[in-house]
Symmetry: D2
Subunit: 337 residues, 4 copies
């Protein structure tokens, strides 16, 4: 940690800061520049956040040197994490395709979707049983009935299944049914839920919050991992910006950036990132080219009748075409689709 002292800081101010630091177990180094004095403090980072050094007389700024996360960091684990869901591998050279409707609406709808996406080549089936909706007057999900239908679809197709959990209740209920759980953008900093997901041991797809920085996102993954659950998959799904022509702005740079900072797999959700099915196929190809470990795509047997997110859903036919387009690209990029 570096403490920058203001131009007007007195020797007394400097002594007070170094005394405080040393009292708390740090060793200190003073560097006297032409205009400013900086103090380097060496010791255990954890102690610092509650030290209130910013408030001491003469202190202008505190510059942290250490990253706040550990378990997610590539400094701690240099090789890529590959998460194995009973034979389906996420991470490394694999390019995973997760597809399915926004919500489980009915047995008929989901089984049709499942068979369609399976035939086109998807690996994992998504479908919401619990829906966090902006309006209290919108459809909120089939809950346990939805989970049963998802499980039936798995039995029928061999696809793994994933659903979003939104609280302790939906988490507990889902564990018996699904292969992976998803934590949505709105819950990325629901720290209690992160801990519970960590304790569950179930693989977790962790979506980036609407306005979460990369660092906050990695800290949320750290919450899950700090409970001993190392099976975390990051999912970039667009961030909120001033642009209104798309629902969100896909931050595609996050993929190579995260690859540098962390060993965790990262996938892209082009459907939520844009809210517009026209943009899904080009962005799926970009996701493959940029080095993502997979995509999560909304697919509905009949987008016109979808109970949610119809405009961003691909029909089964369009999804099948997308998979055709991805195939040669993945061979070229030596990704295993």
């Amino acid at each position: 940690m570096i403490i920058v002292m203001s131009k007007k800081a007195t020797e007394e101010n400097i002594n007070a800061v170094t005394n405080r630091l040393e009292h708390d177990g740090f060793s200190t180094h003073i560097i006297r520049g032409v205009e400013k004095i900086v103090i380097g403090a060496i010791g255990d980072k954890k102690a610092i956040s509650s030290m209130g050094l910013e408030l001491m007389a003469g202190v202008e700024n505190i510059v942290p040197i250490m990253k706040p996360y550990k378990l997610v960091s590539r400094e701690v684990k240099s090789e890529d994490s590959v998460i194995d869901i009973d034979g389906v591998k996420i991470g490394g050279d694999n390019f995973i395709v997760i597809a399915g409707p926004c919500a489980v609406e009915s047995r008929d709808q989901l089984l049709t979707a499942a068979e369609g996406v399976k035939e086109a080549g998807a690996h994992i089936l998504r479908g919401g049983a619990f829906k966090p909706r902006t309006s209290p007057y919108s459809f909120q999900g089939l809950e346990e009935k939805g989970l049963e239908i998802l499980a039936e679809a798995r039995d029928l197709t061999g696809l793994k299944i994933v659903t979003e959990i939104i609280d302790a209740y939906s988490l507990d209920m889902s564990l018996a049914y699904v292969d992976l759980i998803q934590i949505g953008a709105r819950n990325m900093q629901n720290f209690h839920l992160l801990r519970q997901a960590g304790k569950s041991g179930k693989p977790v797809i962790l979506k980036r919050g609407l306005s979460a920085t990369i660092e906050e996102w990695l800290m949320a993954a750290e919450y899950i991992m700090s409970e001993g659950n190392y099976n975390v998959i990051l999912c970039e799904r667009g961030i909120r910006t001033f642009e209104t022509a798309t629902r969100n702005t896909l931050d595609i740079s996050a993929v190579p950036l995260i690859k540098g900072l962390s060993h965790l797999p990262i996938i892209i959700d082009p459907s939520h990132a844009t809210g517009d099915w026209h943009l899904v196929t080009p962005l799926a190809k970009a996701a493959l080219a940029v080095g993502a470990n997979g995509i999560m795509v909304e697919v509905h047997p009949n987008p016109l009748q979808a109970m949610c997110d119809g405009p961003q859903s691909l029909s089964l036919k369009k999804f099948s075409l997308l998979m055709e387009e991805l195939k040669p690209l993945s061979q070229l990029l030596k990704k295993i689709v």
Copy 2:
């Protein structure tokens, strides 16, 4: 609802859209412009979100006419809501001051804070018993012990007390102790929690999400009210922008804007909005001048030793000076502090 057809839409496309609308119970009006055709649809708004009209051939855009919220709207209730917490009134001409530390750290710390802010003129004591922290390695709150200390402070000072709840567990535990509950920025779209807060009947301070639009914020309040709990107080606490010189950017325009759209009281939290105690007093004065119904301010007996948010906390002495500065201003503006 207005459906804008693209320039190339055929008569067949137009008929398909009007047939679909009429089948779902809407009456339709076609307006043929020089370059575009628009279709006006009259009927029950709720049915629309799942119609998938955006996907029909020839449809360029859908323009909703109705606001998605009802109970929070000033169209539904034209006079200001005034929430009465056993004599302490929030809304209308009252300017309420909520003050206290980020977290309840100890009996001693909280009672000192409570007595100090009471003496300076605060009405409600804040203190976190459950802390949502970005890092899993940070202090997470005293939980029930913290609630007991808050209740003791109320008995001692007569101040009302408020604490943030973060899930069903903390909500249930808090109800027996506190006068108001607070839903934090990170939980503004935790829809299950909003419903449970609604069912509890306890007055709720609803903070704006880090990147929530005004409309989303009002929809979150609608969730609480849709469960029959009309005692909702909105709290603007800064939004996330590109500016890094302050922790967040206080959206002060939200106050007069919300006053136009809704009858609910709105207060300002200058501490979280900026993360810097130097800015708290000027912004508190601005909050009063702009017409807010109150402020929520972080105050700590010893900010240098605070376990969280020290840099944005006022000392008791500084808080007392702030209250002195607000007094003549509130008399002038005919606000009751």
Copy 3:
């Protein structure tokens, strides 16, 4: 244009609005819904912006139906524009590579860069002769000397050359030297400069403003085209968001979105979008996969010694490797590199 009347609008208010519209040459249609009344107005859009309808009693909102741009629109010209710079084609199935240093620093530096990027396969050489710098104390460019060096590099290598112009002075001076001019992000709404670039007839690379919406960007292109210069190439270079881990956030969705709205070519600048050379190659591949018409990349013979943007510049060797990686990808995607 649709005028939404508020719930409390009287018949008198409605008549006043329709009279005003009809007086200004619009025909009007009134649609009476359950809760709101909307008025459709048909006529010449240009007249509206100065009408002040929003201020008339009872008017709640104005919804424009027409897009504000014409010449840039794909509705006006459905096939892709291909801009031919003396044999180098930009647009359609071509994937153009523009490369070179941030600034022309010396004859030696630029000629080395030019030969290197030529050999690796670039088509156009970039190099700044006039540098808009955040600090008045930073290097501001070699001006005409820089243009002379660029021209020499063209003679030597056969590469086309482009430089950024920042005002009337630099525009006038550059015209005699360069094949294309570039308008930078900070000048995207320098409307006078846009007009002058339009009048010059020289092909223009128009970078997106740091916080410009897609619509504003297309309007800026409309400025250039409204002067009769149809040779406009859009360049997405990242937008400003809350994320600080990258210099900007590359809005890659802009590519397929713009392809739907406009016939103009669009390229991507991964160097400025991220500020980090590590991210340039993955994003260049994503640019190709998403359907962009090219990339603009910063390349320096010795990034460690670069006078600006060193950290985001590729060395000649790294650029050569990037070009190798792009080749098979472009063959697969049937793009002509």
Copy 4:
């Protein structure tokens, strides 16, 4: 400057960095922490930006210690700058009111506006002679004719006059007419124009760019001051965020923040910040309470007929009421209006 070395940096890497720094005239200090090594470099900051240290092996991050601006800084000049426009003082305890229409539309319109705002108590008259408009098809200003009308209004009322300049042409033309020039948000980083404004010696109102950080804004002021023109007034006019309910988001915290960082006066433009006249009066009061040195408000004799910005313009009557509301507030706050 602090150089943070990565965990894997070798002694060789560290030596290379210190050698490089020492070669460029810095003295260096190495601090060896538990996990990281940091190097403190002392010397002349200007040299650094072109050093490319970020690219050296083992370097993880560079942390600048010095602020990049000098002349604008309160560290250089501790007392408030007060700019005296022939008796009208801006800065210190004065609260200046600048009012007038978006554009000079006609002699009649401007003289009516001038007399109205004078009578209500304004000090300076604004009016656009050169209009930067998003659309090339919108009204672009009366140019020199507009300046003549402004000068006539000054003669008639005694108000000082200000107009926005957008390039060298409009700057040159305006100098003979106006008392102050304004540089608009879109030109905040038009560095050539900043220099020319600096050379002109005329007092400058410098608006904050749509997505400019506080630091970039102060650097833009530094450009003007580096040419010897110390008469710079900063004007906060809203920044671009995700919120669409207002045209921009007024960053009111910028006022006390800038007061800490700089000695320059800062005023607020509530009209452009919101785009909605309903919000202008509450925000003007907030500007006074937060400690701003004045406001700039759009006022039009007939907002319904305004050629631009009608919806955000106050009528003369509403402006007069605003001034009445400000008066007791300014007396209380000991501001001189």
